[in-house]
Subunit: 422 residues, 2 copies
Amino acid sequence: MDLKNLSVLELEEALGKEQKAYRKLQKKGVRVDMTRGRPGAKQLEIAMPMLEAAGSLPYQYDGGDARNYGDPAGIRPARELFAKLMDISPDMVIVSDGSSLEIMYDLVQFAMQFGVLGDTPWNKLDKVKFICPAPGYDRHFSICQTFGMDMITVPMLQDGPDMDLVEELVRADESVKGIWCVPKYSNPTGVVFSDKTVTRLAKLKPAAKDFRIFWDNAYIVHSLYDEDDKLKNIFDVAQKYGNEDMIYELVSTSKITFAGSGVAALGASEKNVQALLKLMFYKKINPNKVNQVMHVEFLKDVDNIKEIMAKHAELLRPKFELFQSKMSEAFSDWEEVKWSEPRGGYFISLDVSGAAKRTVELAAEAGIKLTAAGATFPYGIDDSNSNIRIAPSVPTLEEMSHAIDVLICSVRVALLEKHLGK
Amino acid sequence: MDLKNLSVLELEEALGKEQKAYRKLQKKGVRVDMTRGRPGAKQLEIAMPMLEAAGSLPYQYDGGDARNYGDPAGIRPARELFAKLMDISPDMVIVSDGSSLEIMYDLVQFAMQFGVLGDTPWNKLDKVKFICPAPGYDRHFSICQTFGMDMITVPMLQDGPDMDLVEELVRADESVKGIWCVPKYSNPTGVVFSDKTVTRLAKLKPAAKDFRIFWDNAYIVHSLYDEDDKLKNIFDVAQKYGNEDMIYELVSTSKITFAGSGVAALGASEKNVQALLKLMFYKKINPNKVNQVMHVEFLKDVDNIKEIMAKHAELLRPKFELFQSKMSEAFSDWEEVKWSEPRGGYFISLDVSGAAKRTVELAAEAGIKLTAAGATFPYGIDDSNSNIRIAPSVPTLEEMSHAIDVLICSVRVALLEKHLGK
């Protein structure tokens, strides 16, 4: 349906009908929080065997006791496991505590304070700029904000960031120091970077020697379906072009075991790893290695991780599919409503042309909390006021069903209001 | 014995005798590592019930699920427990991951990058100076070093740092921004700050508004004896003088549960806590809260913590007492050899007038690894080349007995060599 073709009378009539439906849904008083990509309650049970086994695990391992000080880079078995997951060598891995966000923040703070591999500390430069493919992950953008960096928005396309723009930006400007990427099941669009995009990123020729790709592989094993999407190994390509120092890869078990209480890991060239360990020496003795043993013993190997993730997918998939079927039914002929159909990750990206803010507002007033409109863009500014991030993981299927009904009504009311100039 | 009164012949004779004893001990080929304050193997078993219980704990608590995102300041029950331990209010507590060193480092880095409570970021100042009571904890000094701060050495006396000097320094110089303190069973001297010293610290009138006392209360419950030493609550005094924002208190369970895999906490004024939470927002979603539940359930309350610590004391005390008895026997009449008699903590401080480096070297050559001489002083420089830090926790009692014999021999050889001008 193209609302532009409707008369004012027809628009008013449709609005009245939708408002009535909206009030009816509102009256049910159901509250659903879909603001963040948090695992649902049932998902949290999946890793309980890890805790149940904690009392009788082999905490002594080659070279030490995980319950005592030592091993700032994490225990070797954990480095080996995450190396296999990222398909790189164990010497390229630092296994840390639970938060990959914290690793990214610390990497930026190290660069600001001490510089990257002997280069000028970013604090001493007039300007530091980061490329921010958008819509993207709000927590990436807020790191830029807290350090006072300039964010350059680049459109997120169907196969990754607009690489023509990215190539031009990094080649032309030495103050461009980084780019944020969620290369697989991207937050929030669900995009998987194509081989071509990965290759173009890996062979970038930045003006800045200390340019870094923050390869936030948060959804590396988070497929919703048996058949996983393949992401090209960026280190393999980078090595061919002598660019292996340019990449920081991040993974975490926040959505494999426990959110924020898992284990996070950095993948980087050995040169980067050695330099970072020198800086980290001053910061802490070691990460929580007891937790690392628990994780290694529970996760075992990549195949077993995939089996664990299949259990998560079983819980998540119906919610994602419910969204698709209800939205298709409601909006198949609405030109101004579009949404992603992700095959993994934690989000669906919804575009409601020029009516995102009002939609989120309406949903909230009917008890459905969505991520703030604009949050997926640098500075929280979505020029087209269109993008809404949907996080289906927390609600039960029943709550989800209600929440989508409210969302559908809210989208319709918001768009009809827009066309009526209200 | 005053070696100055001996003739060269007597000194040579004594040296020959000691060298013979030294070589005999060396031949045994026993290797003992006494470099760091690490818990011993038996101590690590004390907290195993915490892991054994992990499978069946109440991870859901008031306001959330510890296995999911949320609560950046830590779970409320953990904040309450650490508040009781520090005798402050729960709103003054942030419970973090395992490393109190990391909290201290982050506090300094926040101050460098963003400033303290709206003040000028330390990065923008020409000079930042920290007061370093010495001998002290080497990891405090290395934080100063990595950030390029000037360290001002102040002597550590029997009741804490030389407060006349400290008062003068902070009053006179706005670039003096902090002081490191281990107020109870100080590392390495074992000193407990007297009430008078605590009071003088709490009522300091620094020229710098953003001056901070880093109150590293690492050994808050780490008495070796049933009768604990009392440390005055610095916040109580500070509040009277409007100085409550001046204090950062740190505690951790590294030597209560597992070293580096425990839980660490910050105690600070609510104003500081709120400001820090705002900065921390950009850094991570939350600490490992599963580990916090495990700790809260295992530690229970302050009385139970003291019972746990009594088990640690039972294992540590004999090693400390063996040191005392053997050293007294060996050196009661040696004027140039002095050592501390701590009633808690992890270290004994040994002073060997002008012969520390040679003593450590000799001990190492006989298989006994000690902390590097000088490590307890800023820049690693002990002007009098006297102080050696002894960490008795790791060796078994048998190993400890051998290690002290080697140490005694090494001290004697080193001092005799010194007097012979060798």
